[in-house]
Symmetry: C2
Subunit: 333 residues, 2 copies
Amino acid sequence: MNKATIYDVAALARVSNATVSRALNEPDKVKPETRDKVLKAAKELGYKANAFAKGLASNKSTEVAVVVSDLSRASVAEMVKGISEVASHYNYSILLFTDTSDDKLPELLTNLVSHSVDGVLYLNDEITQKQNQMLEDLVDKFQIPLVLCNTVSNSDHNFLSVAIDFEKAGYEVTKSLIQEGRNNIALFTTTKRFPVNELKEAGYKKAIKEYGLKELICYTTGNLDSNKNDIDTFLNENDIDGVIGVRDSIAIAVLNTLIAKGRRIPEDVSVFGFQNTRYTQLSRPLLSTINIPIYEIGARSMRVLTTEMMKEEQEHKGLITLEHSIIKRLTTK
Amino acid sequence: MNKATIYDVAALARVSNATVSRALNEPDKVKPETRDKVLKAAKELGYKANAFAKGLASNKSTEVAVVVSDLSRASVAEMVKGISEVASHYNYSILLFTDTSDDKLPELLTNLVSHSVDGVLYLNDEITQKQNQMLEDLVDKFQIPLVLCNTVSNSDHNFLSVAIDFEKAGYEVTKSLIQEGRNNIALFTTTKRFPVNELKEAGYKKAIKEYGLKELICYTTGNLDSNKNDIDTFLNENDIDGVIGVRDSIAIAVLNTLIAKGRRIPEDVSVFGFQNTRYTQLSRPLLSTINIPIYEIGARSMRVLTTEMMKEEQEHKGLITLEHSIIKRLTTK
DNA sequence: CTGAAAGCGCTTACAG
DNA sequence: CTGAAAGCGCTTACAG
């Protein structure tokens, strides 16, 4: 089947192609009768605009790129959902990119530029120096609006970012455990130095210091399998009564290990996760956690991006903070 | 910054733009010295091809659409990961669409056609009549290659599909419980009539019938919250010693409820999930399940789609079956 | 309010 | 192996 073009519609409606274009894109600029004729013809022919021609002629793509390193993280899917729903509301399509390894960065940048995306949403927890560099190029050299979602960059470039206050959350959750009467509170975080986890850690340390307690930090890979040893060893060497995992999945891994060692939850040890993923619904006891409004972060990011895309000059600076909250379920007192 | 075009490269390399195009896309067709000149000029200018112009001129988009209804399902992310890695290997970009509600179908179709996607990957468990209709239009009227991933359609159109043999899996897992000595085996499935779950159910029924046992089927929503009542009521009314959940998350919900009722797992009741998501790693006891090679299904689907996209005539028929396996962990004997 | 025409940045027969 | 030129299907000043 050969697709109908704007000329076919024009011919059928007995107007010029310019008029068809206007009737479709700026309806107020054509006389109602003309508009109706055009719309009728378009419908009859099943006309569907060619996005390539449109993009080429208008220099706008109505496409945004979503860049994410690990799609299988529970939080990511929910965030993309938020993005996606707002995007489709504004008639933006989503181009998905999932490879952010350092050696693929030039290719990524080329792809983003080649596709003339109107904006970029960046969802990586981890932002390496090279990634920072690439993002700076994107924004400065190619003038493509960028928003970081649920993450922050440690670049001095101060990219626009929508997230919670990770440090504050880390501080509050630690304090909450202290107020339960816990004195040996351990933070289980990732080996890799993600800015977001470093912020959580900073908050944890601040509270620990404030109350004159001892820092107990276990670094593990995020991986569910290889976690086991790190956690086991740490728990054997340290006598703890409070746990904070920087992710729910890590917290649950610790929780299960504690139970296997005969510790009672929450009588002997309190456990907090981070993020409030659906994992928390499946653990026993039900996991206490920090709720991060992940869907909202995605939706808000996309909204912020649309306003950025409307502007002539990009500012791409600043941090937009959404509220987190502590959710106490059954792993804390 | 104004992006360099093919003409800028041509001018700098002192050749025609046609030669630049060839040097970049069909390197063998130009003399090595010319090629080097062009490549050098392109590099110097930071030339990045305009995908719109390319698509418009060549009538190929090198874009595939991934259509998925619920991105937050654990299995979906992993599948998209498989798709994405193969796609980037073949230099295809991914357009992501997440709204498949019946009233948005025309818009979806328009989007797919407008973007001239070279192919479509469809990831919905649920395929309604209207969705079937839309997919038929896509394939027949617009000649766009289509592959269903980890799902099958009950349309007589016989779309190309990559999945496991769900009925066989349902049969085998039921039989496995029977061989453990279980006699009151219940299937926990979804209220909505997903073809894949109906196949699992058919397999379950076949085994139950073969051994002269009684069918015990509980229909629940897939939702973790509203599940609770359905499951609770069912367990109060039926005395069971075997459980099969059509999803891991459902199985774990049942598992937790059974434990709360004081049943010992697996001494009193055996429990099987379906899919082998990472949920299975977090449940206690560790969940036995059917492994579905979800990443492989994604990767294979994309590979199948690439070969379809090469063909002149679409066949788009047939079912490609990958192997599943039963994984016994600690919720079965 | 509408049309004629140029232009967006590529690809690709065609000719040489 | 290379170039001139037409064409892909739109948008958008410009003129009327």
